[in-house]
């Protein structure tokens, strides 16, 4: 794991590592960096699809709840008006769509990130606490097929990082 003190070096190193063929790598930064997502090819994720499904399920359940209650379960005839009065269902259908979509967005985000995760090996690096402040880390994981303790370490050192350290796990 290499530590950099500015985002530009981190992005350059990440891009180079990716070109070299490393695939199991991750970067740790104190704020989102768009260029880094480009370098790691992270622009697609399943979250929008999940949220769409959540919204549709929410909307359907909102509408069906009202249909069930006002038409089947508890019908009240007021001046002969139709029981299936869809215009007045719209608001609650809409609100339920929003509610389900938002819940899916948050829970889906946590699920895709694998959070909550109380322990992660990177926390063993003493200076890693700086990743939430002002330092930028690039980590090449040992499970990568190209990983070789010495070669990877010297590869990272070539970018003149502040420090290259090994993550105990």
């Amino acid at each position: 794991m290499a530590e950099f003190d500015n985002p530009s070096d981190l992005v350059a190193a990440t891009r180079a590592a990716r070109e070299k063929g490393y695939r199991k790598l991750d970067a740790y930064t104190p704020f989102p960096i768009e260029e880094l997502s480009d370098a790691l090819h992270l622009h697609k994720n399943k979250l929008p699809l999940m949220v769409l499904c959540g919204g549709i399920i929410g909307g359907l359940s909102g509408y069906m709840l009202q249909y069930f209650v006002t038409v089947l379960y508890f019908p009240i005839n007021i001046a002969g008006r139709p029981l299936h009065s869809w215009p007045s269902y719209i608001i609650i259908t809409f609100e339920m769509t929003i509610l389900f979509a938002a819940l899916t967005a948050v829970l889906g985000m946590l699920a895709l990130c694998g959070l909550p995760m109380p322990y992660h090996p990177t926390f063993n690096v003493p200076r890693f606490a700086m990743a939430s402040k002002d330092q930028f880390f690039l980590c090449i994981e040992a499970t990568d097929p190209l990983f070789d303790r010495d070669k990877t370490s010297s590869f990272l050192s070539a970018f003149e990082p502040r420090e290259v350290s090994e993550v105990a796990h």
Partner: protein
């Protein structure tokens, strides 16, 4: 080849925060408010006032529960008065927080980054204060769960054709989504606090709340998608909530309520009062905590401009309301508007016109917009005006409706006032707890505003 794709040069932006900040100093300055032992006297003062008013609220509510709704000044036909006025006022104030966090995010207005956190907190606490009123107005608040459709032994269900039930769904969805949005925004900053706190128990608490956030690029990418989606979801939500609130009035046939322009008029008024509250909170906070470098004069200027724009929309709505009352040719509509202007509530009506229509025009002047003291005063004027607006709409329409023989004026009692000020206490109490316990400015979003955060093109090619 995707690997060869060029980085787009970001356009140079106006500076949003003061020069000379680094990632380190930004983090330190915001986190130290929470992590340092030292607490300014201002904080104790604010919390004390909040707590005192909150105790007043508890007392007023105890009396209310023991003796019933009659302790308020509400008598037939004015069955809605302070409670619904306060409810609409508070919900409206909450809207600015969502506007700042969601709509301005979608519009890529990066100046929002240093005010969105406390504006969202303001939303949450305002919604909490608003939620009190329909609840305690129920008469038997312990049966509030009857509002939700659940299988029960009574064999009855709520009436989904009633705007009051729509309100239940709209407001509870709004509260839930605002809380989620706020919490998602907090996660990276909670991780910062976890990593920076010297005390183990404190570290533990923030650690649990941060859920193991480690700033991984993979997480950031999902996180950014989630924030954008939430913003996209919250935008129609925030516009819908006040629309639904206005349906409480427009769906009724009462003169002065039954009109089609209420939804946009209410939404504009909501944003108007909300930005007034944002300014009223930001101005003292930034001077006490020395945050002028992060919440700059430019922020106040922008907020004042939004206030001016929405204020003009609200002014237009008042004119249209009067015009429609005259031009519509409906005797009762006309009489309702005329009663508002010249009847027993004319003092409130003209004060509200002064506060909301005449008042904001001082914001045309750059001098006013760049003076925090004047801005603070004008935001207070707007808050009072917007409260009066709801009061006038609700009470005048109810007090003098179709049948002259049933007219009766509303006079608030001390319990009305105590409940109202009590919720201001609740709001202040929660807000001051928030600024002591959580970072009031989004640290990671401010980091992205720094010039150092830009990735330079073509450095260190190996």
């Amino acid at each position: 080849m995707a690997d060869d794709q060029q980085l787009l040069e970001k356009p140079a932006e106006h500076e949003i925060i003061a020069r000379g900040y680094t990632f380190d100093t930004v983090t330190d300055q915001i986190a130290s408010v929470v992590l340092k032992k030292h607490t300014p006297l201002f904080w104790f003062g604010g919390l004390g006032v909040g707590l005192a008013l909150l105790f007043g609220f508890l007392m007023a509510v105890s009396v209310l529960f023991a003796r019933g709704i009659g302790v308020w000044g509400e008598r037939t036909p004015v069955m809605w008065a302070f409670d619904i006025t306060n409810f609409v006022w508070w919900i409206g104030i909450g809207h600015a927080g969502t506007l700042i966090s969601a709509i301005l995010l979608l519009l890529n207005q990066r100046w929002r980054n240093s005010i969105n956190r406390f504006a969202e907190a303001m939303t949450l606490f305002a919604v909490a204060s608003a939620g009190m009123f329909p609840l305690i107005h129920l008469g038997r608040p312990w049966l509030a769960f009857w509002l939700f459709p659940y299988p029960n032994t009574m064999g009855i269900m709520p009436n989904f054709r009633s705007p009051l039930v729509w309100d239940v769904f709209a407001v509870s969805t709004y509260a839930t989504v605002s809380a989620l949005f706020w919490f998602v925004g907090l996660i990276p900053d909670l991780a910062t606090l976890r990593d920076r706190s010297p005390h183990r128990p404190v570290k533990f608490i923030y650690g649990v709340l941060a859920m193991g956030w480690r700033g991984s690029a993979r997480h950031w990418s999902v996180y950014e998608t989630a924030s954008l989606l939430l913003a996209g979801i919250a935008t129609p939500l925030v516009l819908s909530v006040h629309t639904v609130v206005s349906f409480d009035f427009t769906i009724a046939i009462l003169p002065g309520w039954h009109s089609t322009f209420f939804p946009p008029y209410f939404v504009a008024g909501a944003i108007y009062s909300g930005f007034a509250m944002v300014l009223a909170l930001a101005i003292p906070l930034r001077s006490v905590y020395k945050l002028e470098g992060l919440i700059t004069d430019r922020h106040l200027d922008n907020a004042a401009k939004v206030m001016l724009a929405t204020g003009l929309i609200v002014g237009y709505a008042y004119i249209m309301e009067a015009f429609a009352g005259w031009y519509g040719g409906n005797v009762y509509e006309g009489a309702a508007i005329w009663n508002r202007m010249t009847g027993p509530y004319k003092f409130q009506y003209w004060t509200l016109i002064t506060c909301n229509v005449v008042g904001p025009n001082v914001l045309w002047f750059k001098k006013v917009r760049s003076s925090p003291v004047l801005l603070f005063i004008s935001s207070m004027v707007v808050l009072v005006g917007m409260w009066l607006e709801r009061y006038v709409i609700i009470v005048t329409s109810l007090a003098q409706d179709f049948l002259t023989s049933s007219w009766r004026l509303f006079v608030p009692t001390r319990w009305d006032w105590m409940t109202y000020f009590g919720t201001i206490g609740l709001f202040l109490f929660l807000f001051f707890l928030f600024i002591r316990l959580l970072p009031m400015i989004s640290i990671f979003e401010v980091r992205t505003l720094l010039p150092q955060a830009l990735v330079k093109k073509g450095v260190a090619k190996h």
